[in-house]
């Protein structure tokens, strides 16, 4: 296979849009594409007050297309056993409204989209957990996916190896909240709350969160399970299940993952070298201000890297700007350089 890859091409900057406001700000700040979802369980950020109804989606697509940008629709949960047709209707909606691509994980949804709307471009969602080129080729051969979003668990050399062996375009996460588990294969939230990313498009849902003041700080609970206890002077984070502090053999620690953010600015030239087609910013659940500022930094960085690849260096003002929006105020290259390996 070993498809030649255009390593001179600038990767597309793909930014999150949880609302019409975030979409317009992302487009104005230089996103090449925005991704969004409908207001229901058909996408993996199914939170109250987030996402698009039909009228908003129409306006969003018009806004982006008028400026030569793309709109990708996330339809990346798994069709429900009791009502799969709702996912088909969402596919039809995307096609009717003129979305530039669908981001899907479920073979049922991919199969429907591929057969019913063969002209519609398909991207394989990170929720499909395709960690190898065999897995990506499986979806490409059967459903003609044109791009795969890679799980946040691969090292840079694994990404490069994978990219050399698939004919699909490769999209990687550049910035945002870090999932330590393989996406699409995590039922931790389901175990504690009955709702999971695969089934309901949510993880550690706000409806299950309770904050309780105690004599010595604040407890964060998820459906009654104590996820963390913050001392009065400690910064509080959202109690995402895998980022809690637990006891293992008498030792209290972030046993799974500390609250950190992924930031791959430092390896941008290597991502160019690998020939990744797109870099994705996480955070449809974040504020429009986050989307605008993070997009602006990444636009500058990608343009800078394209202009002077050999002399590219991360600018201090970028780091400062992104630092304000990082979970836990800490940056990491995540799995890409895998310090724990």
């Amino acid at each position: 296979m070993n498809a030649p890859r255009d390593t001179m091409r600038k990767p597309e900057l793909v930014c999150p849009a949880g609302s019409l406001r975030a979409l317009t700000l992302a487009v104005d700040a230089g996103a090449d594409a925005v991704y969004l979802g409908l207001k229901d369980a058909t996408n993996a950020r199914n939170f109250a007050g987030l996402n698009f109804d039909l009228a908003q989606m129409r306006r969003g697509i018009d806004y982006a297309h008028a400026r030569g940008r793309k709109v990708l629709m996330a339809l990346n949960t798994y069709a429900d056993a009791r009502d799969p047709a709702r996912w088909w209707r969402a596919v039809d909606t995307a096609a009717e409204l003129g979305a530039d691509a669908l981001i899907c994980a479920d073979v049922a949804v991919l199969g429907y989209a591929h057969r019913t709307h063969p002209q519609l471009r398909l991207h394989l969602s990170v929720q499909a957990s395709a960690t190898t080129y065999e897995a990506i080729e499986f979806h490409r051969e059967r459903y003609a996916i044109q791009r795969a979003v890679l799980p946040r668990v691969l090292t840079l050399s694994q990404v490069a190896h994978l990219a050399r062996h698939t004919r699909a375009e490769v999209e990687v996460f550049g910035f945002g909240s870090l999932c330590v588990m393989v996406e699409g294969r995590c039922a931790l939230s389901s175990y504690a709350t009955g709702q999971s990313p695969n089934t309901a498009g949510v993880c550690s849902p706000p409806s299950a969160v309770r904050w309780e003041e105690t004599g010595d700080g604040v407890q964060a609970r998820l459906n009654g399970v104590l996820i963390d206890h913050y001392a009065p002077d400690e910064p509080r984070g959202y109690p995402t299940l895998c980022k809690g502090r637990f006891h293992v053999e008498g030792q209290r620690d972030y046993a799974l993952e500390e609250p950190t953010s992924l930031n791959t600015l430092a390896i941008l030239p290597q991502l160019f070298d690998i020939g990744v087609a797109a870099i994705k910013i996480e955070g449809r659940q974040r504020s429009p201000a986050y989307v605008e500022q993070v997009t602006r930094v990444w636009r500058a960085a990608i343009d800078d890297c394209a202009a002077k690849r050999e002399r590219f260096s991360v600018q201090p003002q970028w780091v400062a700007a992104l630092g304000r929006w990082s979970e836990g105020q800490q940056h990491t290259l995540g799995a890409y350089d895998r310090p724990w390996r």
């Binding site: 294969r185 459906n223 399970v225 799974l256």
Partner: protein, 322 residues
């Protein structure tokens, strides 16, 4: 469906045997322990045994050839043997190992991920619990590849399974599209809930993954993780995260059978597993009282509490309602 004169006979006929399936060993045990464990399984009422290392490619007490030799021994004892592929593949070495399993045709293979599906297309195979099937159309997609059996994701409830693959209208798979696909439900054991590139056992010991010292071997039922209040919550098992409680569908027998499910998967634990297998067989195939069996299981020193929330479309950690 046949209607009419045969209905009466069917009603009086003994119910079909519920097949007992032993899931893959998810922990890292010393070689001798593994061999002795499967020697006891050979004598047990189990019908099917799934073998192989599906969690971590670094574990090496048994290599592929050892698993195949074990598979032949169990097959000689009358067990149906399935070989499982690793659930999280990352390296080219992982892919080679997976291809070696899918290329053999002596034993049925359980697909751990979609990489394996690509190489299994056109053969008979089992869909493992880490391949996401949440609807009938999804199962039909995999049926078209040749799937003949299906282990639903652990979070899928009985109603959903019945809706996807009901007994009277099974999805048809196999290479010729004529084999009714049987669901096999995860019915006992700590629930495999998540996978990560990161090894949490190594992290706990402040070791690097590639220099982990194989500390998993010290924890035959995994390493328990408690909440700040001392409640058992999860289990660290290398790159896999499991529940601390044991999922147990012994009192759900009638609901399992009503959902058209004729195969139950029991996931190995380090002690008293033989008793677990016998109790499940007695309840599902011998007419034993499910609640008596539950009490008997609760008296065993099992590694955790017994829960069954997922079967009831509830949070997985919910205890069994008695």
């Amino acid at each position: 469906m046949t209607q009419g004169p045969t209905t009466m006979d069917q009603a009086n006929a003994p119910a079909a045997r519920t097949r007992i399936s032993i899931g893959p060993l998810l922990y890292y045990w010393p070689r001798r322990t593994v061999i002795e464990f499967y020697a006891r399984i050979a004598e047990s009422p189990a019908d099917t045994v799934t073998l192989g290392e599906i969690v971590c490619s670094r574990r090496h007490e048994l290599k592929r050839d050892d698993w195949v030799a074990l598979a032949r021994d169990l097959a000689a004892c009358g067990k149906e043997v399935v070989l499982g592929t690793q659930a999280l593949l990352e390296s080219e070495a992982d892919l080679r190992e997976m291809r070696a399993l899918t290329a053999q045709d002596e034993f049925l293979v359980e697909a751990g991920d979609s990489s394996a599906l690509r190489t299994l297309a056109g053969q008979r195979f089992v869909l493992g619990p880490h391949v996401n099937v949440y609807s009938r159309p999804a199962l039909e997609e995999y049926a078209a590849l040749g799937a003949v059996r299906w282990v639903p994701p652990v979070e899928l409830d009985l109603g959903a399974i019945a809706c996807i693959d009901p007994a009277d209208e099974r999805v048809r798979g196999g290479p010729a599209g004529d084999v009714p696909i049987e669901p096999e439900i995860f019915a006992f054991g700590r629930l495999p809930l998540a996978f990560s590139a990161r090894c949490f056992t190594a992290r706990h010991y402040r070791l690097k993954k590639d220099e982990c010292g194989f500390r998993c071997i010290e924890h035959p039922d995994g390493l328990r993780l408690d909440t700040g209040e001392g409640e058992a919550f999860l289990t660290l098992n290398g790159i896999q995260t499991q529940s601390a409680a044991l999922h147990c569908l012994i009192t759900q027998r009638d609901a399992v059978l009503d959902a058209g499910i004729g195969r139950i998967r029991l996931s190995p634990c380090a002690s008293h597993f033989d008793t677990v297998v016998e109790r499940f067989d007695a309840v599902y195939n011998g007419g034993a009282d499910p609640h008596d069996a539950l009490e008997a299981l609760r008296e065993l020193p099992l590694p955790g509490e017994l829960v069954d929330g997922f079967a009831r479309r509830a949070p997985g950690l919910q205890e069994i309602d008695t």
